[in-house]
């Protein structure tokens, strides 16, 4: 299974096994990674599954889709590498992916 590493704002790292076909958000939730709320359950409608993609991975992962982009815009702390993790599907290409978690979800 591909491995994904979530880094909390305070630096704590969580490396988890992610199931192919599920979303990165689900991988975090299934493994009890703190710092992702996912209030809408993955419908791209709450923006509380915000992550920042590690610089080495932005090319592989790509940017947000249109709906995701408009939700991300609701966050003043949005960065250039921001994504909503419920809109990222786990695949073998993402094995080793590293994402940073924001200090707060909003």
């Amino acid at each position: 299974m591909p491995k994904i590493t979530f880094i909390e704002h305070d630096g704590t790292q969580h490396t988890v096994d992610a199931e192919v076909g599920k979303t990165v958000m689900q991988a975090a939730m299934d493994n009890l990674v703190p710092g992702i709320d996912a209030d809408c359950g993955g419908e791209c409608s709450c923006a509380t599954c915000h992550v920042m993609v590690n610089a080495d991975w932005t090319g592989t992962v790509g940017g947000p889709n249109e709906a995701e982009d408009s939700m991300l815009d609701l966050n003043p702390e949005r960065a250039a590498n921001s994504r909503l993790s419920c809109q990222m599907t786990v695949s073998d290409d993402l094995d080793g992916l590293i994402v940073d978690l924001p200090e707060f979800q909003f």
């Binding site: 209030d39 809408c40 419908e43 409608s45 923006a47 609701l74 003043p76």
Partner: protein
């Protein structure tokens, strides 16, 4: 055919009515607290339900959690303009506000102010809010009956708004009044007439215009008036737009949080087992706050207008139709929420509720509201064994603001 007399829903068991005769917007079922049974029938038998005639004209009711999520998340097909409640706006007194605008203008205006209630800024406000909360609680009488709505819920939300606007503290009850007036209609008893209502709202505008001029020149500040006065997307607003956005922030932050503060006490009183859980484990408070907000659902609905024909659960909503998303019903939908009628403070996935809406209009103040409620409960638990409700609270007679006008309580210290 002569016009049939309107049925008073409150006289009926929902099961005894033909589906097509049901009108969940009727005030009587809200006044007599009978709406939940009507919503249950709609969820089971007509989750996308057309009411062909009501006080507000024809409208669709959407009552299931998943369907509400689908519509709320789809601003392209469901417009928030020109208003977000079932009631039609006053044509001669428009109050433009970004909650009732579609992208892109909505986004531009929201971006100007949302930083004020984003978590980083809230962290700076937390200590002020906590010390004010402590003061309000410390002044309450012990063992003596009083109105929790007035002494705690209104007082705390009003103080919070005064902090957000950096509003003269001694005048803060004006904010409460303006919030009540803004959502009043002639039947509410709050104002005598529509003219009186507008006159008071102009007073609000005048007061805030003074603050605007003072702050325009004062350099960067993080209060909401300064943000509006200095923001690129908002600094050239017309007076009516300024008033609209002020009212949005005042009403948005006021009734909702106020009624969650009251609703939480009421829910715990009706569920002594949950109250005991809270006493044994104050760590549950953040989770309980979400459960209170779900259980209360301070705004019972939001409305949209369909931009095109749209099929949902086999029904065709026509372009131009009014669609009401009943959050209060969706939050009781057993298809999406486990044991939805129960109040469970350590509920799994408690954050997954509809009370803040979803999509681009999702409540801007949701983290502020949660923080306020968390602080309130942390401080209440430090002081009191029980906030005991005496009798039953009085309900706001509205199908939009789902809350309380009065709730008598007695405090029991540890």
């Amino acid at each position: 055919m002569s016009e049939a007399p309107t049925l008073d829903m409150a006289d009926f068991d929902p099961q005894d009515l033909a589906l097509e005769d049901i009108d969940v917007s009727q005030r009587s079922i809200w006044i007599h607290d009978k709406k939940m049974a009507f919503f249950e029938r709609l969820r089971d038998e007509a989750p996308v339900h057309y009411c062909k005639d009501s006080e507000y004209g024809p409208y669709w009711s959407v009552t299931r959690y998943k369907d509400i999520m689908e519509i709320d998340g789809n601003w392209q097909d469901f417009s928030s303009e020109p208003a977000i409640t079932i009631l039609e706006p006053e044509e001669d007194f428009p109050l433009p506000m970004f909650i009732a605008m579609d992208p892109p203008v909505h986004d531009e205006q929201r971006k100007t102010v949302q930083g004020s209630v984003a978590p980083a800024n809230l962290k700076l406000m937390e200590e002020t809010i906590r010390s004010r909360t402590q003061r309000v609680l410390d002044d309450l009488p012990i063992g003596e009956q009083f109105d929790w709505v007035d002494r705690v819920s209104i007082e705390l939300t009003t103080q919070m708004l005064a902090t957000l606007f950096d509003f003269p503290f001694e005048d803060r009850r004006k904010l409460t009044r303006w919030s009540d007036v803004a959502t009043a209609d002639e039947e509410s008893g709050i104002v005598e007439s529509e003219e009186a209502r507008q006159a008071e709202l102009y007073e609000c505008l005048e007061y805030f215009t003074r603050l605007w001029h003072e702050r325009e020149e004062q350099g960067e500040r993080s209060d909401l008036v300064s943000m509006l006065a200095q923001g690129e997307a908002t600094k050239n607003m017309t007076p009516q737009e300024y008033l609209g956005n002020l009212i949005l922030l005042i009403v948005g932050g006021n009734d909702t949080t106020r009624n969650s503060m009251t609703g939480g006490v009421w829910a715990l009183n009706q569920n002594p087992g949950e109250y005991a859980k809270l006493r044994n484990n104050p760590g549950v408070i953040p989770n309980m706050v979400s459960e209170i907000i779900r259980w209360q659902t301070p705004l019972a609905h939001m409305r949209r207008i369909a931009n095109k024909d749209y099929v949902l659960d086999g029904q065709t909503i026509k372009a131009g139709d009014k669609v009401i998303m009943w959050y209060l019903s969706g939050n009781r939908d057993e298809r999406s929420i486990d044991r939805p009628n129960e109040f469970i403070i350590d509920r799994d996935k408690a954050r997954q509720h509809l009370s803040f809406g979803f999509g681009v209009h999702r409540c801007m103040g949701n983290r502020l509201a949660e923080m306020q409620l968390r602080i309130l409960w942390e401080e209440v638990q430090k002081r009191f064994h029980m906030v005991e409700v005496i009798g039953e609270p009085k309900l706001v007679p509205s199908n939009f603001v789902h809350g309380y006008t009065e709730m008598q309580v007695v405090l029991h210290p540890h």
